[in-house]
Symmetry: C2
Subunit: 409 residues, 2 copies
């Protein structure tokens, strides 16, 4: 089940970037579950990671390796991603396994272990099946290619409970030239801000200094992956990486930085929305626009309170215009001195709430007509300021329960 | 569906306290949906109410009437409760309707309108069916009685999606005498702290000064109704009332206050737990004991983060010892400087997590044996202080989705 029809884009090849995928037997026999992404020596790389205190071993190792490369003015040229096992909650053994997989890959390609970044996703708390994983590295390296099919196979090689693969590609003009951004991502459950449970890998052929790359990635994540929620759970393994190969146009002028930032945000929002559309058991894609707040954080607080409400989510699933549940969720959001008289709530073009209660011209028929749609926008105007935030979420269905009650079996 | 077997207790009659119930046709034809509780003139009354900003009209009116009585040194002697309609999100009309129902009841009994407190629960956002409600007041008054059956009928007359009625009764020694506390409550969904979506009515024959009654009620609610969650939603209508009729022993000595406070907490915890055991779609009753925190609020934050996690709740539903989800939820709790190495997590007698990962002697068989139980305690030791908190919750099942996707139909 997934909401809307989003085809996987055709990703253009990027100079010096190769992707290789293998079926290592970590997930299920015959399924692609190991991916290597190779970058040229000229690349710079930025990353943001989960803030879960129990973050997984590969997150620790990837952060340390990225920092070590930065110190040497090098790029972490190899990204090694496995699905089927998160290597989280695995203690010292997990740290050892993450480092060992980097070491083995580095040995194959003649690099230093810290030039390899490890990423894992899947079940938490089981030891990484090292024999299978290590045996899969050579086949994945052998499969390295730069064409569109390699991107698509890599997108397939990182998914867990996803029902479809997720990619986005945009072109950005830079002076007389153009640069490309290719992104792939995975994620459909344990999704919420502070990175959603997701892995995202974005590569551009632009040339961008590391400090600028860091800033651009943080800002874009703040308005994309940090604005989605399926079920309010933040994973132990979230990571979003951005590499600039440096083979194409250089991004330094303010206008180019702005254009690139917009393109990057477009890619990340596309991937973030694709994750929500593929949210576990999702039958609806819901945009929460909160405006009129005194601060962005206040708008986010209200949006997430509504987005996390099981009662709102089950009403969406039932296509039931039970707007009282939205009102009740807004009313319990952590907002000081809340004047409910000034709040308006709209469901697409239909006004639900004004003056502290049901809008005077609201009809059940109008509300039900909107709730029957697959794509719905809930717009909440707090009437107290100029700040706003947008959050995307899905509904809570029987299939969500089935998927998560049966995941390990 | 409900967890465990809890019979409704036999409530002793309390001097001057009468309860009358009617089927007014507000909920469904023939179902009890209107309750009047009558107190003697000597009573003192305390109340705590929802903190939802969109609080319902009856909450506004009940608070105002309670305050007006206090000012006059009187008790609000009549509590009028309807189920089937929450009179929330109903604007000015809702305020008028709540006041009008008080006025009509007052007229019947020769009291002032502010001596009547209104309470409503049910669907949000629909106008209160005033004709039916007002017509039900006389039959409810005619049915007033003090015997155990009247308490049981009142408990039945306030429920919504509850699958069973909820009551608790305890005796507390006061010097050579004894005082009794009788409590009834309703609630099974839209349940979380800041009162859970619930109504609770507790009456004792003790004599207690209003200021002391306020304090005792607040403290007991803090450790009972504010420590439960089914689905993280706080209702617009929550209220818990405590009346001391003043017909029995006087509570003034410290030792008696302590004994009474313990009895009151026992009643409220029993009612709160009964609400969780009857949580919408509940198949498990889960106690979250968080210890070793630096402050009670920190312990509550961790407990509620785990209790609200849909992934933990679906794993509980599936009886799946997917302890990684518990670890991930603890890891994303809002705790500063979290040292995961010091955290231990136990499922009843089985140690799941220590040293930042799976406990060394943990076995899947041991975890699964605990998860198969109906009553489960998850104990989380943060290892950083002496504060603790206990929270009770239920699991997330297919039936929860069914109940809330179909509630209005």
């Amino acid at each position: 089940m997934a909401v809307g029809d989003i085809p996987f884009p055709t990703m253009p090849a990027l100079d010096g970037v190769r992707l290789g995928t293998a079926a290592a037997g970590i997930k299920k026999p015959g399924q692609r579950d190991l991916v290597v992404i190779e970058l040229p020596e000229t690349a710079s790389v930025a990353g943001v990671f989960t803030r879960n205190a129990f973050c997984a071993a590969p997150v620790h190792v990837a952060k340390a390796h990225l920092a070590a490369c930065r110190e040497q003015g090098k790029a972490p040229r190899y990204w090694l991603i496995n699905t089927g096992n998160a290597n989280a909650g695995t203690g010292e053994q997990g740290m050892h396994d993450a480092r060992e997989s980097c070491r083995v890959l580095a040995e194959h390609v003649g690099a230093q272990p810290h030039e390899v970044l490890p990423f894992s996703t899947g079940v938490i708390g089981e030891p990484l099946p090292m024999e299978a994983l290590l045996a899969g590295i050579a086949p994945a390296l052998d499969a390295r290619a730069c064409h569109a099919a390699a991107w698509e196979q890599a997108a397939r090689g990182i998914v867990t409970t996803d029902t479809r693969i997720k990619g986005a590609s945009v072109d950005v003009p830079v002076g007389a030239q153009r640069v490309t951004l290719n992104g792939i991502a995975k994620g459909s459950g344990m999704i919420r801000p502070d990175m959603a449970t997701m892995l995202g890998f974005v590569v551009t052929d632009a040339e961008i200094a590391p400090a600028l790359l860091d800033r651009l990635l943080c800002e874009a994540v703040e308005h994309s992956f940090n604005c989605i929620t399926v079920d309010s759970d933040t994973s132990t393994n979230d990571a979003c990486l951005l590499a600039a190969t440096g083979c194409g146009a250089s991004i330094t002028r303010d206008a180019d930085v702005q254009a690139f930032a917009a393109g990057l945000q477009q890619v990340l929002v596309s991937l973030a929305q694709a994750i929500i559309r593929d949210g576990e058991g999702a039958t609806k894609f819901v945009t929460l626009d909160v405006v009129g707040a005194t601060a962005r954080q206040e708008a986010l607080d209200v949006a997430f309170t509504v987005a996390h409400s099981p009662l709102v989510k089950t009403a969406l699933y039932a296509s039931d215009a039970n707007w009282g549940r939205i009102l009740a969720a807004v009313g319990r959001a952590p907002v000081a001195d809340f004047d409910v008289e000034r709040v308006t709530i709209d469901l697409d073009e239909v006004r639900l709430v004004e003056g502290g209660g049901r809008a005077s011209d609201y009809t059940e028929a109008a509300g039900s007509a909107v709730m029957a749609r697959e794509d719905i926008t809930i717009r909440i105007d707090l009437g107290r300021g100029d700040a706003q935030a947008t959050v995307w979420t899905s509904d809570l269905s029987h299939e969500y329960v089935s998927i998560n009650a049966d995941y390990r079996s």
